[in-house]
């Protein structure tokens, strides 16, 4: 196993996928790191590395999000222990990007975990067979789930809008 090559090949798309999946770059970074650490411990069969990394990263990300959700609920129940002040804005979060990010995030968060995972894996170019193995469903169901997710997002993000001057994601 050549770790440096694997890292260069897979880390950028894995991080992009995980940050889209979770909406949290910190969780994405941690989950991607977890996936690579496990890769070094127990490498999968040749030819399955990419799907394996994404599967492990996905599980790690969902687990981290659930842990974070539990912590937030605890802090909300005991507000005196909560950290003070808002998190500083990300340096690259200029207005348009922030607005689009917020809209996309809200829409994606409205999808069930599995539908979101399937949709984001498809966006990364995975075949249905690989997606089905990752989320534990049948290949035949993947198309249905992608369609269901797109139908829901179409309404939330106005993906079907037709305008004279073309579709504008920033409106």
């Amino acid at each position: 196993m050549d770790a440096a090559i694997l890292f260069a090949q897979h880390h950028p798309s894995l991080f992009r996928y995980l940050s889209r999946l979770t909406g949290d770059p910190d969780v994405a970074e941690d989950a991607a790191q977890e996936a690579f650490v496990r890769l070094m411990e127990r490498p999968p069969a040749p030819g399955e590395t990419r799907a394996w990394l994404f599967r492990v990263g996905t599980n790690a990300a969902w687990m981290a999000l659930r842990t974070r959700g539990r912590r937030r609920r605890l802090l909300e129940a005991a507000p005196l222990r909560a950290p003070l002040g808002d998190a500083p804005p990300a340096p690259d979060a200029h207005a348009e990007t922030a607005e689009v990010r917020e809209r996309v995030r809200a829409a994606l968060d409205g999808l069930p975990e599995r539908d979101r995972t399937i949709l984001m894996m498809q966006q990364e170019g995975f075949r249905y067979r690989e997606i089905a193995e990752a989320v534990g469903t049948t290949t035949q169901s993947v198309g249905t789930m992608i369609a269901r997710a797109l139908n829901k997002l179409a309404a939330e993000l106005r993906l079907d809008d037709e305008e004279e001057d073309g579709w504008n994601p920033y409106r």
Binding site: A8, R105, Q123, E124, Q140, L157
Partner: protein, 282 residues
């Protein structure tokens, strides 16, 4: 009322997605395709799904976060020594037509040094070596995380090995090729090649589904960078690498610009099954 295949009712949404993505095994393809051929309503629904996905891809790309480590531009692949004309050979084997591209030759540029990558490589190789020697999982995670964190906060020199750890392994053996897969955001795919090369060919090949696959065939050091508009190839003027890009169905045309040269527009319908080659030689 339009006549449709009597063998089945309208296609379900999931079946349309399977056809759109070229997933033959996931649907009774013969029946479904026959119905689609005859039914304008289903073709319209399929087109709507295609549009939705293109727009979603565009939104996702514009909302992406930057990678946490100031290292890899997204989807960057580092290559190393390989035969200088592998791309041309592959193009010739495939029987693709080769079109000369008009690109202004760029001056031979100095390679950009990438200390972060050397550091990351050393860290990962070290961690891998340790993982084999001792299954100290927590220690590996801590060590890798610390080094990545150093890189993320501006550390530019190769990290020193931790106490009692084996010395970093030597750099990776050269690889002959590499690839990056992505889903283009719209119906146009832009390919920007940084420099006209000494030799080499960029080959476009049509493919079913929605994912594009870009491959480098022989290079001394090339970066593939996926950007919202498509693909950026960071090469050097003295390279002789070949590139092959699988153009998915959603892409209607490909725009290729080499250096500061004129843009070439290739309609997907004009690309034959064997592909079309664009000469990158200056």
């Amino acid at each position: 009322m339009e006549p449709v295949s009597l063998t089945r009712p309208h296609l379900e949404d999931g079946e349309l997605l399977c056809l759109l993505d070229g997933e033959a095994e996931a649907v009774a393809r013969g029946d479904a395709e026959a119905h689609l051929e005859a039914c304008a309503a289903c073709r319209g629904r399929m087109e709507r799904f295609r549009t939705r996905r293109e727009r979603l891809a565009s939104l996702l790309a514009s909302a992406d976060f930057s990678p946490p480590v100031p290292m890899t531009p997204p989807s960057t692949v580092l290559l190393s020594e390989a035969g200088p004309t592998a791309g041309e050979a592959a193009t010739a084997r495939a029987g693709a037509k080769v079109i000369p591209l008009r690109g202004r030759p760029a001056p031979a540029g100095r390679r950009v040094d990438r200390p972060w990558l050397r550091a990351a490589a050393a860290v990962l190789l070290l961690a891998a070596a340790v993982a084999v020697a001792t299954p100290a999982r927590a220690w590996i995670a801590q060590w890798v995380g610390r080094q990545w964190s150093q890189l993320a906060h501006g550390g530019r020199s190769a990290p020193a090995p931790p106490p009692a750890a084996p010395a970093p392994a030597p750099p990776a053996a050269p690889q002959a090729s590499a690839q990056v897969r992505f889903v283009p955001a719209g119906s146009e795919l832009r390919v920007e090649v940084a420099h006209a090369q000494r030799a080499g060919t960029l080959t476009l090949v049509p493919v079913a589904g929605t994912a594009a696959l870009a491959e480098v065939l022989g290079a001394q050091g090339v970066e593939l960078l996926v950007v919202p508009s498509g693909l950026r190839i960071r090469n050097a003027a003295n390279d002789a690498a070949g590139y092959r890009i699988q153009v998915p169905e959603g892409v209607r045309r490909v725009r290729v610009r080499v250096g500061a040269g004129r843009e070439s527009v290739i309609e997907r319908t004009s690309i034959g099954p064997a592909g079309v080659g664009l000469a990158l030689g200056s």
